[in-house]
Symmetry: C2
Subunit: 509 residues, 2 copies
């Protein structure tokens, strides 16, 4: 070992997809090279090089002067054993840093710029601060539509791709996706069993909750394993026609996963990033035909019909350039879909619909059938307008349920089935009248404070929806929690604003 050599030590700190290196203040390299906290350094070990943000440490229990501490992400990425020697050098900025600065200055980026930038993002060469700069510089409609095409292509290029052409022999590989923002909107878990029972190939990958109380992956996880490696996922789709898996493990768009880790705390979800994120994952998953759900409502992601149309055109433009057949469906996003909000409660609603249980929420059933119908009409053998009847027959006959059970078994069934949180609190109407509006954002917030999605049984169960008549004191919804502190957080928030608006009826009696 020369004086510049350091011993790698794993520091068990989860820095959420950022490489962090911990060096002791007395480490000769820190003293010699003038490294400062938060500057970036290059770490070299065993022929590999990664870049990392430096945190300077004054505690030898964390790292000693001759050690190089690596956060969980950095340790996984350099991929050598603890105790291995490493060297650090001053950081060279990522090759694409010039493109990032040009975008910050408001310039238009070329295809080459975006490919270089996204490759550097996927290789974790950017710090969180730099990623935040990229996210803000490409916010709103700051990326023009050709830039979004190139961003999408670059994201596909940075990851792995699935190919189903041996299975479908030129036929469609279908998918269905929603831009998000509506609590309880778990239509994918009804649509996938229906369309795969119809014989279509649907390799559905979903995200976990980003800012919501549950993503489709979180909800499906209440029933089955969703963390499927690339090869296993491919085998399940070949065996059952479909899957309902988390997209993160399949490495389909790793750059997108890294960008989302910054978009989430910033609560930024801009059109260009949304289009590139969704379409890159669909195309990487091998889909050829996609039905896209854009809900519109005062508390949805898209607030107005002109806004929805503008977003629709951007999706269509990018999809067309990438050879993806896209049908956009603009839907009612004025209130949550179904009754449950939170992983266990939403899984319950889905299974009730698939079992044709009368307790199954009618709005979730109707919306799922409508979307499944559009997917089924991608089948060249189905006449326009017949999709809805076919979808309904598959659902009512129990074939959709049987198909869902097959997918669950293929992915690995979760037993025992988890149950809703046992600690509950009911929020009641403060006057007689009709439910005039339900605030999606407020209900999502309350469900998150109750613990969702991390505490799987936590969430909110809606007991009435828009248009229902209520009496003062009647329960509007029930909060489920597993810990009393969580229930208190959620209950306090609901007491300040229930998220429901009750309108007194003008002509009573």
């Amino acid at each position: 070992m020369t004086p510049q050599d350091l011993r790698i030590r794993r520091v068990a700190i989860d820095t959420w997809r950022e490489n962090v290196a911990y060096l002791h203040r007395e480490c000769p390299v820190v003293r010699a090279s003038g490294f400062q906290a938060l500057s970036k350094i290059m770490v070299h070990a065993n022929g590999r090089t990664i870049s990392a943000v430096l945190n300077v440490v004054d505690d030898e229990r964390i790292v000693e002067a001759c050690e190089l501490g690596l956060s969980e992400d950095a340790f996984a990425r350099i991929d050598v054993a603890e105790g291995h020697t490493a060297r650090v050098t001053p950081s060279e900025p990522p090759a694409s840093i010039g493109a990032l600065h040009r975008k910050i200055a408001g310039e238009r980026l070329t295809r080459e710029d975006l490919f270089a930038l996204i490759a550097d993002v996927a290789q974790a060469r950017y710090s969180k601060i730099e990623l935040a700069a990229f996210v803000v510089a490409t916010n709103g409609y700051d990326l023009d539509r050709d830039e979004v095409v190139h961003l999408t292509e670059a994201m596909i290029d940075a990851g792995r791709r699935l190919d189903w052409q041996r299975q479908v022999r030129g036929g469609p590989v279908v998918d269905k996706h929603c831009i998000g923002g509506i609590p309880g909107n778990r239509t994918s878990m009804v649509v996938v069993p229906i369309v795969t029972a119809h014989g279509m190939l649907c390799p559905k990958t979903s995200s976990r909750a980003i800012t919501s109380p549950a993503g489709t992956a979180d909800t499906m996880e209440m029933l089955a394993n969703v963390e499927l490696p690339f090869d296993r996922l491919a085998q399940i789709v070949r065996d059952t026609n479909g899957c309902l898996a988390w997209g993160g493990t399949a490495d389909l768009s790793p750059a997108d996963d890294i960008l989302i880790s910054v978009e989430r705390p910033l609560a930024i979800d801009s059109p260009g990033q949304m289009v590139a994120s969704i379409l890159s994952k669909k195309i990487a998953a091998g889909s050829t035909h996609l039905v896209l759900d854009i809900p519109v409502g005062p508390t949805a992601k898209v607030r107005s019909m002109p806004g929805a149309q503008r977003l629709r055109k951007l999706f269509e433009y990018v999809a067309q350039h990438l050879g993806l057949h896209l049908e956009v469906v603009i839907t009612d996003g004025t209130q949550p879909v179904g009754n449950g909000i939170g992983p266990v409660l939403e899984a319950r609603d889905v299974m009730r619909v698939l079992r044709n249980d009368p307790q199954g929420p009618a709005d979730l059933r109707d919306k799922s059938l409508r979307l499944a119908a559009r997917v089924i009409e991608f089948d060249p053998d189905v006449r326009g307008g017949e999709g809805w009847r076919i979808a309904r027959d598959i659902l009512e006959s129990g074939r959709a349920l049987a198909q869902m059970e097959a997918i669950i078994d293929a992915q690995g069934r979760r037993t025992p089935a988890p149950v809703p949180g046992a600690i509950t609190h009911e929020v009641t109407a403060d006057q007689d009248g009709r439910v005039a509006a339900i605030d999606n954002l407020q209900l999502a917030r309350i469900a998150r404070l109750a613990g969702a999605p991390q505490v799987i049984g936590a969430g909110v169960d809606l007991l009435c929806k828009v248009g229902d008549a209520v009496r003062a004191g009647q329960p509007l919804y029930r909060i489920h929690a597993s810990y009393s502190a969580d229930l208190a957080f959620a209950r306090d928030r609901a007491a300040r604003d229930s998220g429901y608006r009750i309108a007194a009826e003008a002509h009573a009696g």
Copy 2:
């Protein structure tokens, strides 16, 4: 202790002005509340509340399940002893988050918005990611000039203010500042002794190097203590008419210090932020009259004369609205000023000029006299045009040197005087000709790789300047380092690009 109570533990990790909280993955609060890595939490202890970014830890040597680890910054800010109980709750976003999102969306912010935003920045309620979003959203000329006025006022309002009116009784309190970017440009250390020897009050506070090999504070620190608490700084100015101190300890514009911690790694230094940063610190330090140096050159911060004029107007507009008398001087920024680059080497140049040593660099002397002249002409008793002669007399008579020695003694003289790094390498001309250009950025980079400013004796000593005739093999500059690894980094960089351009003479004699 209730189950929600945690014991505070100081985690000796320097996170560079960001509050980071470390909680063990098995901590009941993490499990119950669905906190995720990188989410923000509120920490409550002893009646105080701070917000912090969460890192989840899997190592009990760092934090145990019942402990709340706090990074150095967070620990200092919550200001209670280790072992004290604390609680954590889900983060409430800062009150000004709506204004941040409106700025990201491109809207114009009101005075109230900017006051709320900067107050939250100063209270460390924003994460690094959110600060990066603010820096990018206000980049370039994205802040209009009234927004810059309000940003400046808000920055002043968030810190402490010095008031010298009892000393000057309506007379000017003067200062001199450069926007930066030119290595070796240490004119302040010549100007302050001259103008304070003339009897003017000049409470000069400077920054440390942000992206450069030395700031004025770093260079002054080679001669004297620069970390002066607020009250001590005020006393020194009353005693000697001036000071040359680091601005950070005086708490004059704490929000600016926090924003700079993000601007530095992003290498963003936009006009609005620059104007607010400089003018807020000058006004908070009690200055009424300011000479501002804007160097222009192909490798300076400002590349063109129109760019300099646009920046000048913005400075003038904001200064006028805040009652600061401002004179802008646009100077030659085509090459470094003086010979030394790096704290010790620059301090040597300054003292040579003050001692009227023939080895003192003529360009540093001339520029300092020119700027001192402009400051002296703020004196109502000095006729226009007489400033230069007065400044030169003060310098040549030795009164400036005596005044500098007085300031050094008042701040606390550093002994022994540090010397340049002993390990050297000379970079030589590769052909006969004249020095046609010197790249400020490349020379700064080489000096930083050699270790400056952290390794105080490290840097670059220029042996010839633009216009000098050189022969092939003749040394252009000498790199000084204290560690051989640093010399190797700097030498490699210089071998790839020396930063000097030598033009063969067209009509050799």
